[in-house]
């Protein structure tokens, strides 16, 4: 089975039926519209914009930050998945020392807080790399991406290891009986069966990662969260606080909720009936 922590993070995977959900569009629309609408009536001086007006004014800037959040999430997921598959396969190695080392690395990066790993990368990576005479600048957002990719790597490794372990041992023996090499067994027998089992927890991990991306604002990257704080500081209007945060929460919700529903649907489809 997929790794329990990831399943637990998104929850709702142990039981068979989905919870009674209210329509996502309704909740999303509520988050997006209700608060500004409520506050739009609050009196605004002749020179200042209404609350809705201020939101519209700031939205493009914040949305550009939000796109950076999404870019970081996609890149960190890609890097983390590539490294994690390698680590997960090492954790399924036949050599005990390799297995032990892979286990240690996985446990370390899985149990360390994400924000702490982010601090590590921000402080300890250089601001530029020298490779074969080339100077490769490492801007803050790229260091943050690496910082987020590390825990993703460890979680992907656990997903891979769990999926490989869930394949019945008879499959290995049958492949051997067909005189497939170990490499062929991996490529033709084991991995194709693993992909189905890995997909739902992998998607959950992506949603968790996306929701972790605002952490990069804590270490100084100008993402959507940082933009919201900057906009609020520059306007200095306390009545904007709730609408602005609700707008950002709404955007993340509209992005992550469909992923969660899709994951649930895939889980039901791939569920093995005992």
């Amino acid at each position: 089975m997929a790794h329990p922590r990831l399943r637990a993070v998104r929850g709702g995977t142990l039981g068979s039926s989905s919870p009674s959900l209210i329509s996502p569009v309704k909740l999303g629309a509520l988050l997006l519209l209700a608060a500004p609408a409520l506050y739009a009536r609050a009196e605004a001086g002749p020179a200042t914009l209404s609350i809705a007006g201020a939101l519209v004014q700031w939205a493009p800037l914040i949305f550009r930050g939000f796109l950076l959040n999404l870019l970081v999430s996609v890149l960190a997921m890609a890097i983390g998945t590539a490294l994690g598959i390698g680590l997960g396969l090492l954790a399924s190695s036949l050599l005990p020392p390799v297995r032990a080392a892979a286990w240690l690395v996985t446990q370390f990066f899985r149990n360390a807080p994400w924000l702490v790993l982010l601090f590590y990368c921000m402080f300890l990576l250089p601001f530029e790399l020298h490779v074969f005479g080339w100077t490769l600048p490492l801007p803050d957002w790229s260091k943050a991406t690496i910082g987020l990719a590390l825990p993703v790597m460890a979680n992907v490794a656990e997903i891979v290891r769990g999926a490989v372990q869930s394949i019945d041992y008879g499959q290995w023996e049958a492949a051997k009986a067909l005189s497939l090499t170990r490499m062929q067994t991996w490529r033709l027998v084991i991995l194709p069966q693993c992909i189905k089992r890995m997909l739902p927890p992998w998607m959950s991990l992506y949603a968790v990662l996306t929701m972790a991306t605002p952490l990069i604002s804590v270490v100084g990257v100008q993402d959507a969260m940082a933009m919201v704080r900057a906009a609020l500081t520059s306007d200095g209007r306390p009545e904007l606080l709730i609408p602005m945060y609700v707008m950002l929460l709404g955007w993340f919700f509209l992005y992550c909720y469909p992923i969660a529903r899709w994951t649930q649907a895939l889980e039901r489809r791939y569920a093995v009936l005992a």
Binding site: G11, P19, L115, L124, M211, Y245, F252
Partner: protein, 248 residues
Amino acid sequence: MDDVAAWLRWLNQAHGINLSPFYDAYDGWRFVGGLLTTVWLSAIAIVASIALGIFGAWLQGSPRTGVRRGVAAYVQFFRNTPPLVQLYFFYFAVGGVLPRLTDAHGAQVPPIGSFAWAAITLSLFAGAINVEIFRAGLEAVPRTMVEAAKALGLSRFGVFHHVILPLALRISLPSLTNNLVNLVKTTTLAYAIGVPELLYASAQIWSEEFNVRETMTIMLIAYIGLVGLVVWGMGRWERAWRIPGFAP
């Protein structure tokens, strides 16, 4: 003790490895204070989120559609939005709107401080996931057990109290462990609103001592130790409650 401190000072002077929390009393107490704040914050959030989870799972069995929808909305909101934005939302937005109180010195203070907001947000966040975990546990209790209990003449409450709940809790424990580990890791977010927890205390130390690498490593080991403690404790709980022959 003095010998160890002297050796650590020598290590700093000779090799530039500055493990100041271990020889400098001021840094050491700051670090311990941060660690205790993290433990305290985790403990409050663990207890509150488990209570919320059980209460929410119980409410989801309600015959009223409105109640079930309300719980579902709560769960979906907290599971599908970033924890950091939730924390900022509660601390800056909700906390900013609340009326100020006047304290004994006549200063205007917010009614809920940063530590309390961190505890509230973390409890709500982890509680939402616990609702799902406990609901899944309740659903996973085999129907035959319930039927057998009914056949023995147990009342509706008796069936829930003596059969469903004990089994559901045991089924939920592995997922609960994972969520609580996640919760302990998430307490680091309180750094962002200035709660003096472990990450905050460590950041203070390394910005004064310029020993980022060393302090970060000590902090990371402390966090991994804390997570290990939670895993160990939950493992003991699981073993203590194990029913021979019943494998959830």
